[in-house]
Amino acid sequence: MTAEDVLSDGRPEGTESGRRSRSSEAVLEVSDLTVGFPSDDGLVQAVRGVDYTLRGGEVLGIVGESGSGKSVTSLAVMGLLPRTAKVSGSVRFRGRELIGMSDAELNQVRGRDISMIFQDPMTSLNPVYSVGYQIAEAVRAHHDVSKAAALDRATDLLDLVRIPNAKQRLSAYPHELSGGMRQRVVIAIAMANDPDVIIADEPTTALDVTVQAQIMDSLEAAQVETGAAMVLITHDLGVIAGQADRVLVMYAGKPVEIGTAEDVFYTPRMPYTFGLLGSLPRLDRPSERLTPIPGSPPSVVNMPPGCPFTPRCPLAVPLCDEREPELEPTTDAEHLAACHRSDELIGKTPGDVFVTEVADAEALAHFVEESEELA
């Protein structure tokens, strides 16, 4: 069996499934997914009802700040959460329900149908095995091929993710590679079995920008090669703008806006999205005053009713405290937002929604006076 044969054994829709051709067929359907972790203070509701559909070959970007539940969502999809986690809802891969599957069954799906790229390549690779062994291991986990054939495939994969001298690198150990190289090895492992879905959780966060650009190139190459759909989780709105076909914005464990990249970046319909965009210093235009979101994200333990963004939202009305808004279609059926006042946001800019914070002038004047007396 040659390396090429490895790819095409018994895949239902053949290897030509993708090449980044987007089909409207859903490969991954997540509905009403919730994840809770019991703690001494009560149930930590890390994910409070996530719904999304990933279509063949598309890139879905998930953005949100730390603690918004974006990573926990994908761990739940992969069945990688600890046993103490309370998971409910449904995750279907090509119609097959993944929630409630045994580990043995899940192992048939993980790595073969859905694979994952984690943030830190140093902890996701095994330090005591060579990278060639680890890639070959991934190939042999799902295909009955000889070691030699698996290593051939490993060489091809390293070539694909643009690691120079791939053949020599097979015998290298993770610590001998730089951070960027390691992450490319992780990408090679993720695409080893030609998966239909790749979940990339902050794949470039720990890396410098020039290396980040190289990794995004490798990731694109991986996606084109396998034709896989991708869930790209990141807090970097720039990466999302460049890669994602559709964007899902998460806040306090729930999606608050979902739409095409253009919808979300140019015509957001949820105050939180406005806040995120207005907070970003921009490279492409002279500096304007930033519009930060006041306050900080809520604790997801014992959450009060109502919209969790209310305490930070300049548009909050009494209704917002009473009832949490559903994710509903806006003017466009594909563009959904969870905000009671979403219709009033048409044509607004972040500066219209948020006030630019000003330091307490009186306190500052006092401070200047007092410090001059002291000196």
Binding site: G238, R282, I293, A359, A363
Partner: protein
Amino acid sequence: MSAPAVEKGDGSAPAREPILSARNLVKHFPVRSSGLIRRQVGDIHAVCDVSFDLLEGETLGLVGESGCGKSTTARLVLNLIKRTSGEVFYGGRDVSALSPKQMRTLRRDLQIVFQDPYASLDPRMPVNEIVAEPLRIHDMFDKGGRELVRDLLRTVGLKPEHGNRFPHEFSGGQRQRIGVARALALRPKVLVLDEPVSALDVSIQAGVLNLLDELQTELGLSYLFVSHDLSVVRHTADRIAVMYLGRIVETGPAAALFERPGHPYTQALISAIPLPDPRKERARERITVVGDLPSPADPPSGCRFRTRCPKFAAELGEGERKRCVEDNPQLVDRGQGHPVACHYAEQKVLI
């Protein structure tokens, strides 16, 4: 002013006096062998011949990727680590030649805000005490320091009632504000900001940036702003110095540097930053560098960027490359309107 002038080369900078100047700063860290007798086996060339002027009331951004020596430079400027050679002038005096006692007086004027708001505040001290500590050290607290601390906390956007709380009771953004308040307590003239917002989420980061901006205007502060994030530096800095492997490779006014970068590294850096604008981002020209940062223990000869330089790899002929290998390019104006350390500097419009 006893600091010899360096060529500013931008022409547009207002004729303000430099408040802080670095001249030919060099820092080597020893590399020691493992084993019982830890012989020195080499040097990490962390900072190599770095010179710059910080003008009064301006923000100078020092940018580069991890390992480029930007934080080491910031610490050298404050004399927090000993320099290998070179001078730092503040108010006409060479800072690095001062005795510890003289240095302490100077610390009133030169303060620093650190990157990690979790590590830079003493977890066992209430916030009031953290902010009051510099005043106590300089024997200024008894003359009304309590009031000053209250006003300072209000100024940075914290409630004075929360002064008795401990750092762990605050969020990352609030802690960074405490760090800013502490740095301001002595009314310094220069603030060194070492990655002040890197540990914060974007929505929180914006608030701290706005605060720093406002404090600068109101208090007439000069900032040395160290960051790896080009977008943040573009937003805050008046002038920018780009560092690579211990050297400044390009410096100039923020707008000019971003609109017409001349050094291949600056160009690669700018084009590697994804823009949060789908249409613009997908239509951009990309300049990618290959490989990873070489070891600072054994930097490449000549131009330190040549091993990763897209221009060196694709555009230059054999004879031209020889110059990059043998000859370290000086940081001078090569017709770009600002100094660039590349023999073959060429402007490119990337945004």
